[in-house]
């Protein structure tokens, strides 16, 4: 089992086809002054950072006045990321811009296997004026479609350049690709900050758009508590059976033959079990808290899916679920 280091740097991957607005979004994040970010751009010479933000420029690495670092890395992407992890500087967040034809999930997987990192979110941008055409394109349609496959959040960009009918068409096309995934309409001036791990738009979201505000209420929670233990293989099957409307699941998870409960972290269909961090000793064998969209099925249906993976008869405990929830800060 993976033994986790105590402090993990969150990683957010920004994907989307050429022209979706990734660089504009990066500039928005770097301007926000809400943290010390390391930004990696997995493409050649494409970092077009506002000159006003740049304090020093050394070859392909730029240091910004607010302490952020920004690298354009082309083919040396992995070497550069390795150097950033090794050189001792701590960042509040690592933001990686995938290339316009790249699959952002392939990069996001780094944060699932590198113990010093945790995956915060995969955000995929879609140019509202082009996304319908791009998805139908015989040459790049499959590439574009693939970029959304593991998105946690979709930003529909440049909506102010279109009428309502066109925006709705773009929104419904994207929603049809990934039912249940939040789609946020944005303009150059209303791009949101980084979401927290639950994809609840954080306070720094520029909530000027009525539609965006609506989406803040679009999340539902689910708590699951049992004594006993899961069979690992059965649990893997159960996770596959969970509905896509469940965005995240996290908490203590006892596995048969393991002495101590482990920490489960699941994002979309991807999950990892790691040792419980210090100071988070579990009082219960199994206590999981999930976040889903407003279309999340009833908790009894969800409970039944996980119950099928238990190895011994169990009973629902009377633990104070609310108190425990805070410990996991979803």
């Amino acid at each position: 089992m993976m033994v986790s280091s105590s402090v993990k740097t969150p990683v957010t991957v920004i994907g989307g086809f050429l022209g979706a607005g990734k660089t504009t979004y990066l500039n928005r994040l770097l301007r926000s002054d809400s943290g010390r970010y390391a930004v990696l751009v997995n493409d050649f010479g494409a970092v077009n950072i506002d000159a006003a933000l740049i304090a020093a420029h050394d070859g392909e690495t730029m240091t910004l006045a607010n302490g952020c670092v920004c690298c354009s890395i082309g083919s040396g992407f992995l070497d550069t990321l390795g150097r950033i992890l090794d050189d001792g500087t701590t960042f509040d967040h690592i933001i990686i811009e995938a290339s316009g034809v790249g699959d952002p999930w392939r990069i996001a997987e780094i944060a699932l296997v590198e113990p010093s990192l945790r995956l915060n979110a995969v955000i995929v941008l879609a140019d509202a004026s082009r996304i319908v055409t791009l998805l139908d394109d015989s040459r790049v349609g499959d590439t574009v479609r693939g970029q959304f496959e593991r998105a946690d959040l979709v930003l529909l960009t440049k909506v102010d350049l279109l009428d309502r009918v066109a925006v709705d068409s773009a929104r419904s096309t994207v929603s049809a690709l990934r039912p249940g995934v939040a789609v946020v309409e944005t303009t150059e001036h209303t791009l949101p900050g980084l979401p927290d791990g639950a994809f609840r738009p954080a306070s720094r979201f520029a909530a000027t758009d009525a539609d965006l505000t609506d989406h803040e209420h679009d999340f539902r929670r689910w708590s699951y508590s049992r004594s006993g233990a899961f069979d690992l293989d059965a649990l893997a099957d159960a996770f596959k059976a969970l509905p896509p409307q469940l965005l995240r699941l996290k908490g203590a998870c006892r596995i048969a033959d393991e002495a101590m409960p482990l920490l489960l972290q699941m994002v979309g269909q991807d999950w990892a079990l790691t040792a419980m961090p210090d100071g988070m000793a579990a009082e219960h064998d199994i206590l999981l808290v999930g976040v889903g969209t407003d279309a999340l099925p009833d908790t009894s249906a969800l409970d039944a899916i996980l119950d099928a993976a238990l190895i011994s008869p169990t009973s629902v405990t009377t633990a104070d679920i609310n108190r425990r929830q805070t410990a996991f800060t979803l």
């Binding site: 089992m1 993976m2 033994v3 086809f17 050429l18 050649f44 010479g45 494409a46 082309g74 083919s75 040396g76 992407f77 992995l78 070497d79 990321l81 390795g82 992890l85 316009g100 034809v101 392939r106 990069i107 997987e109 780094i110 699932l112 296997v113 590198e114 113990p115 040459r139 790049v140 499959d142 590439t143 690992l232 293989d233 991807d270 999950w271 990892a272 079990l273 790691t274």
Partner: protein, 548 residues
């Protein structure tokens, strides 16, 4: 005439100059050819010293490898575990290891020879397609060592196998749920790792990546030595970021008198914006010397066919696999091509699948329409699936093509059964079509993906036989030996815009020869790959190939 002139006499000189196809004597001064002809013709002209050491040998122009990589020189510092025999830079035939047991045995030998007990053991060249799709597992590698990290890099360079120790150190286990960590039948990772994330993690715990290490003089010397062993006197390094350190290593090597190959590095477009790239090429050109030729740029549009990452036109892969990956977006390619085209720079564009080829043709057509440029010679590299219509467009656009003839032997069976099906596999690397339509073409190895050996590459284009013995499209696509020799000498030089200085034995060109025991034009075409190569002459310097 000058006493510095040396006249090499040979049993036969095959010049590849159609105006004077055959000779017996070649006079050399200051590294260049002064005259070619018979003894009488030459002696009267030059009065130089006659060097008769090749009197029983056959000289051809030194071979030109138009698509290979410096990684061939880097790899030979590591043990080879491919299924087929391969010749090392020391001239030794390293036997193929076509079973798991033989691979393990090869690795055990290498492990025993290592002095540092903690150093990782890397090996290269493995391809499960070549040993009946048998997989190499962590348990196999654990038989080599449970205390030393081991990594076997596949021939494709995209997939690796590691032992259990590496998995443990990387903390990859049954709970790891990412696409690049392949699980075995026991539910634990099998040891096969691929993709960005798994590679990143594994190389971090190994502390080193032999594929991205800094280039050293030893690597370049091994590459040059392999060239001598294989009769190559002009060689490409067809995808390189050309970092300052690499440029310095190349500069130092190429200025040594005993450095025995002309290097043609291609700048990787992926590491530069087009504006930066154009400026960099212009600066690098200023540092060219007679053995170092900067000036070309490489673009990679798609992936590989046998890895199912090439972009194919409808109906796609024969076995129904989903279409491959774009490495450059189709809509971005035209602006990149236009930037280099307008700057007068020659492009070498990797397209394996025919959809990628189509996109590249569209981009060059747009650039040619916007800025007509005579003799640009933009060259499609690999271009393995092009049909006659695409070759006709190449012809119309003034393009060249460098076809991957070695694929017929190494992956022809996979293409027949899995990737393309019989019809398209028979047209794989369509040298015959290129010839009929009149597109200037070369053939290549893509070393280290397949072995550096132009005579073998010529043999593939002449015989079109796969490793299982199946013959693919020989009646329509095979070359004659003469045509194949053109494609590894003067025509390969043409694709590099170096045919005015190398590629044939004629007055004024560099004195670059391959010295053979036998004339390829006089032996059975099935045996041209077996002709013994004595060595090379580069700029008049004679170098006998090492024989280990």
């Amino acid at each position: 005439m000058s006493q510095d002139t040396v006249v090499f006499s040979a049993r036969k000189i095959v010049t590849m100059n159609p105006s004077r196809p055959v000779a017996t004597h070649v006079a050399v001064r200051e590294g260049r050819i002064v005259a070619v002809g018979s003894f009488d013709e030459i002696a009267a002209l030059t009065g130089g010293r006659v060097d008769g050491r090749f009197k029983d040998k056959v000289l051809l122009p030194g071979f030109v490898e138009g698509h290979s990589h410096i990684m061939e020189g880097m790899m030979w510092s590591l043990p080879y575990v491919g299924a087929f025999d391969r010749r090392s830079p020391e001239g030794k035939v390293v036997k193929g290891v076509p079973t798991i047991d033989a691979i393990v045995e090869r690795l055990q030998e290498a492990e025993k020879a290592m002095t540092d007990p903690d150093a990782p053991l890397f090996a290269w060249g493995f391809d499960p397609l070549h040993i009946g799709s048998v997989l190499l597992t962590r348990q196999d590698l654990d038989r080599v060592s449970t205390t030393r990290p081991i990594m076997v890099v596949h021939a494709s360079f995209h997939i690796s196998n590691v032992n259990t120790l590496v998995l443990q150190r990387a903390e990859l286990d049954r709970t790891t749920n990412i696409s690049g960590v392949v699980m075995g039948t026991d539910g634990e990772p099998s040891g096969e790792v691929q993709g960005i994330a798994a590679r990143f993690r594994v190389f971090r715990v190994l502390g080193t990546n032999p594929l991205s290490g800094n280039l050293t003089a030893d690597d370049v010397n091994r590459y040059a030595s392999s060239c001598c062993v294989q009769g190559v006197t002009t060689v490409t390094d067809l995808h390189n970021d050309l970092a300052d350190l690499t440029v310095e290593v190349y500069r130092a090597a190429s200025r040594r008198d005993d450095f025995s190959v002309r290097l043609v590095p291609a700048m990787a477009s992926v590491s530069h914006s087009p504006e930066q790239g154009v400026a960099k090429i212009k600066a690098l050109r200023a540092s060219n010397n007679d053995k170092l030729h900067y000036g070309i740029v490489k673009l990679v549009v798609d992936g590989s066919i046998q890895g199912f990452t090439a972009r194919l036109r409808w109906p796609g892969y024969h076995n129904g696999a989903p279409n491959g990956l774009w490495y450059i977006a189709p809509e971005e390619l035209p602006s990149i091509v236009a930037a280099y085209h307008e700057a007068g720079i020659q492009l070498h564009i990797h397209t394996n699948g025919d959809e990628a080829t189509e996109v590249a043709l569209d981009a060059v057509e747009a650039a040619q329409t916007a800025t007509p440029r005579p003799d640009h010679r933009h060259t499609l590299q690999h271009c393995q699936m092009a049909d006659a219509a695409q070759f006709k467009r190449m012809k119309t656009l003034g393009m060249c093509v460098n076809l991957f003839a070695n694929h017929v032997y190494y992956w022809g069976d996979s293409h027949y059964d899995l990737t393309m099906g019989p019809e398209r596999a028979n047209r794989l690397d369509a040298t015959g079509t290129a010839l009929r339509i009149g597109v200037p073409f070369a053939i290549h190895s893509d070393a280290p993906v397949t072995p550096l050996s132009p005579l073998f590459t010529a043999w593939c284009a002449v015989n079109r036989v796969t490793s299982s013995g199946r013959v693919l499209g020989k009646g329509t696509e095979a070359l004659t030996v003469q045509q194949a020799l053109n494609a590894i000498t003067i025509d390969a030089a043409y694709t590099l815009k170096l045919d005015h200085v190398v590629g044939s034995i004629e007055t004024g060109k560099y004195a670059d020869f391959v010295v053979l025991d036998t004339d390829p034009l006089e032996v059975a075409p099935e045996t041209i790959k077996d002709i013994n190569i004595w060595g090379t002459v580069v700029g008049g310097h004679v170098r006998e190939a090492p024989r280990a």
